[in-house]
């Protein structure tokens, strides 16, 4: 019993609970921002890829191949530790931004998730039933209207299960923030560990917090799937 009380004072007492709160909000902010920007970026890229655009398709393919074939940790290192190697970066107006770990991490995360999401959306666009597109053509819709009204809504629905995996992978990947000097949930655990010279005690609540977040995300996506896949579910009598 005493041991448990001691443990809780270690991880929560002495103002330590503030680290956890800060960590949770930072993790959530980074993950949602990079997913949002990456998701918006990926839609035109996926369309270019699915339509086999002669110029953009190879470009987008090499972008996704590069970012999907290399570890996120090294991508983040390249931006944060690597960019100061160049004097022109240091002299540019972007330097106050690129000097910060937060911006470098956000850029790396966004590009990474954009690459993965592009491939997910491309697969979904290609999986839209032909009949729907033909029906749109028969109604006389222009290619743009067809994309906006028929293909994209259908594709976004199809991509929901794969996209929920990507969201969870992004949350797992966001641990890299704690490796850089940023206090996310993992960073909070590291801070508390080094504050009391303990080796792993802080990682236990860290693991539990991540687990709660993952279950929350899974639940949200299950609700979304229930709502947007309603027409695909077998009829219950």
């Amino acid at each position: 019993m005493e041991f448990i009380i001691e443990y809780f004072t270690l991880i929560l007492g002495d103002g330590n609970w503030k680290f956890w709160l800060e960590g949770i909000s930072l993790t959530l902010m980074f993950v949602s921002l990079s997913l949002l920007i990456g998701g918006v970026l990926s839609i035109p890229l996926a369309i270019a890829r699915a339509n086999r655009h002669p110029i953009f398709n190879p470009m987008v393919w090499s972008f996704t191949y590069f970012f999907r074939g290399t570890p996120l940790l090294v991508q983040t290192y390249l931006l944060y530790y690597g960019l100061p190697q160049f004097d022109f970066v240091k002299d540019s107006f972007m330097w106050p931004m690129l000097r910060e770990a937060t911006w470098c991490a956000l850029i790396a995360f966004t590009l990474n998730t954009a690459a993965y999401t592009t491939e997910i959306f491309r697969g979904a666009i290609e999986a839209v039933p032909h009949g729907e597109i033909e029906a749109a053509k028969a109604c006389g819709m222009s290619p743009f209207k067809r994309m906006r009204r028929i293909i994209l809504p259908s594709a976004l629905r199809i991509s929901l299960p794969a996209y929920s995996n990507e969201v969870i992978f992004m949350l797992h990947g966001s641990v890299i923030l704690g490796v850089l000097p940023i206090i996310d949930i993992f960073g909070a655990a590291k801070t508390i560990n080094s504050r009391y010279y303990v080796s792993f005690e802080g990682f236990i609540p860290c693991a539990i917090l991540y687990m709660i977040l993952v279950f929350g995300i899974t639940r949200i996506f299950r609700m979304l799937e229930k709502r947007y896949h309603a027409h695909l579910r077998p009829r219950t009598s």
Partner: protein, 229 residues
């Protein structure tokens, strides 16, 4: 560029460590995946419950956090238990072991789903046909189940292997001298971190591209005689 050539022995050594670590993790993950898939498919409630909680745990906890827990925590736990029961002496878990055990543990959960899906997708009639021909259990496994299993599991196995390969970069965080670690030290001492990190990215890209090609060839080999839609 010359600095990269100067440091190439260290980089190559690091690449070797990364590849070796990836292969060790693959062994762990495949054994765990097969066992857990068998547990999930077995009729015993305990087996499926243990396997299910394993995959849920892995889905919930990020790999790096798990690695930290295993590297710092497991050693303390093992020594505590050893002290208490007197069964074993002082155990030290080094970064390499902690790295490949964690990665194997994490990817093992994905392998579980791969193998489970593949086993479920094997046409039941083929196994029945094997029984009808009077094949023994091991012969059925060798001649019928295994070729199907490889064919059906390969696409998602390839995916898992690529994820595994990229996850190995994380062991540099606990201080294992792998590719990322060696390149990082080299880059820091020459103040050319961009160059060295870019080299690391290219090496990873070569490794993933090579494994994709190789596994694609295996996939083609095992798909001989399967009608394509």
């Amino acid at each position: 560029m010359e600095t990269v050539i100067d440091y190439s022995p260290a980089i190559l050594r690091g690449t070797g460590v990364t590849i070796f670590l990836a292969i060790c993790s693959l062994m762990v993950s495949m054994s765990l995946g097969l066992i857990a898939a068998w547990g999930k498919l077995s009729s015993s409630p305990i087996g499926s419950r243990v396997a299910n909680s394993y995959t849920t745990l892995i889905r919930g906890v990020p790999d790096l956090v798990l690695m930290m827990l295993i590297y710092f925590g497991l050693q303390r736990l093992l020594n505590f238990v050893g002290d208490y029961t007197g069964l074993w002496g002082y155990i030290e878990i080094n970064t390499f072991v902690a790295g490949f055990v964690t990665i194997g543990f994490v990817i093992g959960a994905y392998m579980t789903e791969t193998f489970r899906g593949a086993i479920l997708a094997i046409p039941r009639g083929q196994i029945e046909a094997g029984i009808a021909c009077g094949m023994s259990k091991s012969l059925i496994f060798r001649r019928i189940i295994w070729p199907h299993l490889v064919r059906l599991a390969l696409p998602s196995f390839t995916n898992n292997w690529l994820v595994l390969l990229k996850t190995t970069a994380l062991v540099s965080v606990i201080g294992q001298k792998d590719l990322v670690y060696e390149a990082f030290t080299a880059g820091r001492s020459t103040r050319q971190l961009f160059t060295f990190m870019f080299v690391v990215l290219i090496i990873y890209l070569i490794m993933t591209a090579a494994s994709q090609t190789a596994l694609g060839l295996v996939e083609r080999r095992y798909n001989v005689g399967v009608r394509r839609a």
